[in-house]
């Protein structure tokens, strides 16, 4: 029986063998692997890209103080982006399940319609939830839009729920009982943060402070986007356009995006804390979305500037 980490190694190796860069987790709080720049920004534009990474994903509202055997504040996703999606993408995906020891001939696998949409990211796609003996193990999406922008090359996004998959393979009823490494359980490694973050998110997080942080990050992201937009305006006499182009290329959009991610996570925490009414919810989502869409647009513009320079050189 493979341990949790062994399963992760095997999946990484499998995708590495199929031309994926194996990235490390993004070092910021995100709700899903999709939100990492490796997905959110890389799927934009015409450059092919293949990447796989494990992303710890935080969903404050899903915390259950470590008491629910299947729900976690923070779970691990294996995120795979294949841009553009190869013709045999499903066969490759099924191959990855075989690689971790699932004999598909002895199990029931179904692809059930599940279209994905992330309103805060202005992103959507069509696809399936992949069901293995009645258990959803993967979200499979063909991205169509990201940051409100139509995608030039349609990527396939595979998001594996690693705890569930491991519980399935190890035949465990609770994710806390899965074996992370030989002799070490998931509970040993993660129980404390499930409890403590549940307490913080549901009981102790200071709402005023979180709102203040939200406003600060939102302000900083908006300020930076404003600065970038100034570079977008053509100079009346065409003078200094090279400098502008240079400034555009080195403009810190990635740090800008980090502030957007902070907003998104703070929103989720405030939501879990019960501090956001349904009316406000829509408005706050729109605020985050506006920033995310702004970064996506700026990113495409920056990439285009890069390409122009490359073409000249």
């Amino acid at each position: 029986m493979d341990s949790y980490q062994e399963i992760i190694f095997k999946l990484k190796k499998y995708w590495s063998d199929r031309g994926c860069i194996i990235q490390e987790p993004y070092d910021l709080e995100v709700g899903a692997g999709t939100m990492c720049p490796e997905t959110f920004l890389r799927v934009l534009g015409p450059k092919p890209y293949r990447v796989a990474y494990v992303q710890p994903s935080r969903r404050p509202a899903d915390g259950r103080y470590g008491e629910n055997p299947n729900r976690l504040y923070k779970h691990m996703q294996l995120q795979v982006i294949l841009k553009p999606a190869p013709n045999d993408v499903i066969e490759q995906y099924l191959g990855s399940l075989a690689a971790i020891g699932i004999d598909l001939k002895k199990h029931d696998i179904k692809f059930e319609e599940d279209n994905w949409e992330a309103p805060t990211l202005g992103a959507w796609g069509v696809g399936w939830q992949v069901m293995l003996d009645g258990l959803e193990i993967t979200q499979f999406t063909y991205f169509q839009q990201c940051g409100g922008i139509d995608l030039d090359l349609v990527p396939a996004e595979l998001t594996y729920g690693l705890e569930r998959l491991t519980a399935f393979l190890q035949v465990k009823d609770s994710v806390y009982d899965i074996e992370w490494a030989p002799g070490v359980s998931y509970r040993d490694v993660r129980f404390a943060d499930e409890v403590q973050f549940s307490v913080y998110n549901f009981e102790m997080a200071d709402v005023a402070t979180l709102w203040k942080l939200f406003d600060l990050h939102e302000g900083e992201a908006a300020r930076l986007l404003g600065e970038f937009r100034k570079l977008e305006k053509p100079l009346p006499d065409g003078r200094g356009s090279e400098t502008v182009s240079g400034d555009k290329r080195r403009f810190p959009l990635l740090p800008t995006y980090e502030h957007v991610l902070k907003c998104s996570h703070l929103f989720n925490t405030l939501d879990a804390r019960g501090a956001i009414s349904v009316t406000e919810r829509v408005a706050v989502i729109a605020r985050v979305r506006k920033l995310a869409v702004g970064v996506a647009e700026a990113w495409v513009s920056q990439q285009t500037a890069d390409e122009l320079v490359e073409a000249v050189q």
């Binding site: 629910n68 055997p69 299947n70 729900r71 553009p84 999606a85 013709n87 499903i90 066969e91 099924l94 598909l104 001939k105 002895k106 199990h107 029931d108 696998i109 179904k110 692809f111 059930e112 319609e113 279209n115 796609g125 069509v126 399936w128 293995l132 003996d133 009645g134 258990l135 063909y142 169509q144 139509d150 995608l151 030039d152 090359l153 349609v154 399935f168 035949v171 009823d173 009414s277 349904v278 009316t279 829509v282």
Partner: protein, 652 residues
């Protein structure tokens, strides 16, 4: 020579609910090709699985012969230039033009010739369009942006006419004679002919016929049945097998509604009943050839256990706070940004229930009906809103009248669904829906075309159904805030209900509604009466006469001036006879039920006919003319309270 035909579009998994519709469109698209090419319609059979859409025909025509159609040109007298232009347009020389005699003089004519094509040629240039002509509820690009759109990527195409491949291409996929078997159990590449196609697929664990897949599932599930779920599973599998699993009896303490929702909606299992009671068993349909090692069963049991555990946890958590103590929390649940919170909506529903004559039970149910929106169980299983509230209310000791009203108040959710079972439930349901309608129309959220995000059509339809089938006789029209758009909207739903759901003739519905629709129970009674009287001998001719009367009054621009009929001005004979008969009938109407009343009105027919035969309404003497118009107008007005007969469509 005619040849058999096979088209298989191989795709990644199509959403189950779209397969049948897509097949119908595919058939229609190919039918169009036949029509455009003036070919006799061919017999087509359709099959579909999650991964393939198939059209087959035992016999396609050999092709299309030349089509020659005569086209008329200019008059010969117009001259040489016109003739040259005409000839050029059809690619012939002037000498090839024919001349014929038209009613306006000799004209040129040309035989326009569209050269014939073989079936292969026709298909070759048509099939791409046929396939891409399917309109999907939601389609996608794959590969590059701007390429073809389809529901999911197309991965292979089989297109055969006899032994020959019909060559065409979609998004880089070339048609051929190679299909693909079951994803896991079959071979990925299988060469086929039309003759062995179905058999080869079967050998590779694909059952082509939806009907056969359905039978396989039915055989496995026995008495457990659910048509929606069955259809879903038929199109989620290529090789269905049924497995049976169990769960701990402990979970049966949870309400059956919750357990069934988890099994049916979340896991797509059939629930099993024994002696009318939910049993601790379930039936799952797999896309496999059985489950020899029991691995699939154990996996599904584990998933179900986890889901039931969640539900149990939510149920127990929710019990810690009674529904009555949750009312204030509704202030934090938004109904609609401009229409306020559910607390405000609750207050409005309560007021409406009182206005509608609800008793204490109705008002109590109204107060609690939305509180389950704050419970964990409803947050998890939104489709159980109302039901969960009802179950909690029962658990918390509310009277039966109250908890069933809460339980039912979203009913009817469709035209097939039943209405709430008691008066309190019916009133709360109407009040809730009416409030949504009034509110949304008030702020301009009016459904247009297919856009109806607040399901207002369903709400209005529900009100109509409850009023009629619950025999509730209150004046619905007065509750519409004098909103003309809302009145029109509801009237549309009333018309739809009686016509499409209840099957009354459209003109009968129009005739009855034109005489008022304040009380829908009364509308139904009048409809039943008119339907019964309609086939009688006198009815339709009388309706025709009423239409005639209406036309006469319209032409005379006579809308009645309140003046009475002056009997002294009546001519003896048919006019006086009609007047007397009218007075006789009028005298009896008030005390008659609708059907005899209508029969009585219909009995006027001979007198009306005779009147029109013998009497000139448009008499030279203005006083007489006015008196006759008054007679007709009075007759029309007095006898249109049950139905406006002029709306009846007659053959005469």
């Amino acid at each position: 020579m005619s040849l058999p035909f096979l088209l298989e579009i191989g795709t990644e998994e199509i959403p189950d609910w779209m397969v049948e519709g897509a097949l119908e469109q595919l058939e229609e698209q190919l039918g169009n090709v036949f029509q455009i090419n003036k070919l006799p319609p061919a017999k087509l059979t359709k099959d579909g699985t999650p991964r393939r859409l198939i059209l087959q025909s035992p016999m396609f025509p050999a092709g299309r012969p030349d089509i020659v159609t005569p086209e008329d040109g200019p008059l010969v007298s117009v001259g040489e230039r016109a003739a040259q232009g005409f000839a050029k347009k059809y690619g012939v020389s002037v000498t090839e033009l024919k001349v014929f005699d038209s009613p306006v003089g000799p004209k040129y004519r040309v035989d326009k010739r569209v050269p014939g094509e073989s079936m292969l040629q026709i298909l070759e240039r048509s099939l791409e369009e046929v396939v891409l002509g399917i309109r999907w509820p939601k389609s996608m690009y794959w590969g590059e942006w701007g390429g073809p759109r389809f529901i999911r990527p197309i991965r292979w195409i089989v297109a055969l006419l006899g032994d020959e491949v019909v060559p065409f291409e979609i998004a880089g996929v070339k048609s051929g004679n190679v299909t693909s078997g079951h994803r896991i159990l079959g071979s990925a590449q299988i060469q086929v002919t039309i003759e062995n196609y179905e058999q080869k697929l079967r050998e590779n664990f694909v059952i082509l016929s939806a009907k056969e897949r359905e039978e396989r599932i039915r055989a496995g599930i026995g008495k457990a049945s659910d048509d929606d779920l069955l259809r879903t599973l038929v199109y989620l599998t290529e090789y269905p097998s049924v497995i049976s699993g169990t769960f701990d009896k402990e979970y049966l303490k949870l309400p059956a509604e919750v357990l069934v929702t988890v099994m049916k909606h979340h896991q797509k299992y059939f629930a099993v009943y024994e002696n009318g009671q939910l049993a601790n068993r379930f039936l799952a349909v797999t896309n496999t050839d059985g489950d020899p090692d029991g691995l699939i069963r154990r996996g599904n049991e584990r998933v179900l256990r986890a889901r039931f555990n969640d539900a149990k946890f939510f149920w127990e958590t929710d019990q810690k706070k009674k529904l009555a103590d949750r009312v204030a929390d509704l202030a934090h649940v938004t109904f609609q940004a401009k229409l306020g919170s559910y607390l405000e909506k609750t207050d409005r529903i309560k007021t409406l229930v009182k206005e509608l004559g609800g008793d204490n039970h109705g008002v109590r149910a109204a107060e609690l009906c939305k509180t389950d929106l704050t419970t964990e169980l409803v947050k998890e299983f939104t489709e159980l809103q109302g039901v969960v509230g009802g179950l909690y209310a029962r658990e918390q000791g509310e009277p039966e009248e109250v908890w069933t009203a809460i339980y039912d108040h979203y009913k009817p959710v469709s035209m097939e669904d039943s209405i709430p079972r008691n008066n309190a439930g019916q009133l709360v349901s109407i009040a809730d829906k009416l409030d949504t309608l009034r509110g949304c129309f008030g702020i301009g959220l009016i459904p247009t075309g297919s856009k109806d995000p607040f399901a207002l059509r369903r709400a209005a339809q529900g009100i109509v159904k409850i009023l009629v089938e619950g025999k509730l006789r209150f004046p619905i029209r007065k509750l519409l805030n004098n909103d003309a758009k809302l009145e029109e909207f509801l009237l549309d739903r009333i018309r739809y209900y009686f016509k499409d759901i209840r099957g009354f003739q459209y003109d009968e519905v129009n005739a009855i509604l034109a005489s008022g629709w304040n009380d829908l129970v009364d509308v139904e009674e009048r409809l039943v009466a008119i339907q019964a009287v309609r086939p009688t001998e006198d009815f339709e001719p009388l309706a025709a006469s009423f239409k005639r009367i209406q036309n006469i009054l319209k032409q005379a621009q006579f809308t009645g001036d309140g003046g009475a009929i002056d009997a002294s001005l009546l001519e003896p004979g048919p006019e006086t006879d009609l007047y007397r008969e009218f007075q006789n009938v009028r005298g009896t109407l008030a005390n008659l039920p609708y059907r005899p009343a209508l029969e009585s009105i219909a009995s006027l027919r001979p007198k009306v006919d005779l009147f029109f035969d013998k009497v000139l309404v448009n008499a030279p003497d203005p006083k007489i003319r006015h008196n006759r118009l008054t007679l007709l107008h009075t007759l029309l007005a007095e006898f249109s309270t049950i139905a406006d007969f002029s709306e009846i469509v007659t053959n005469t």
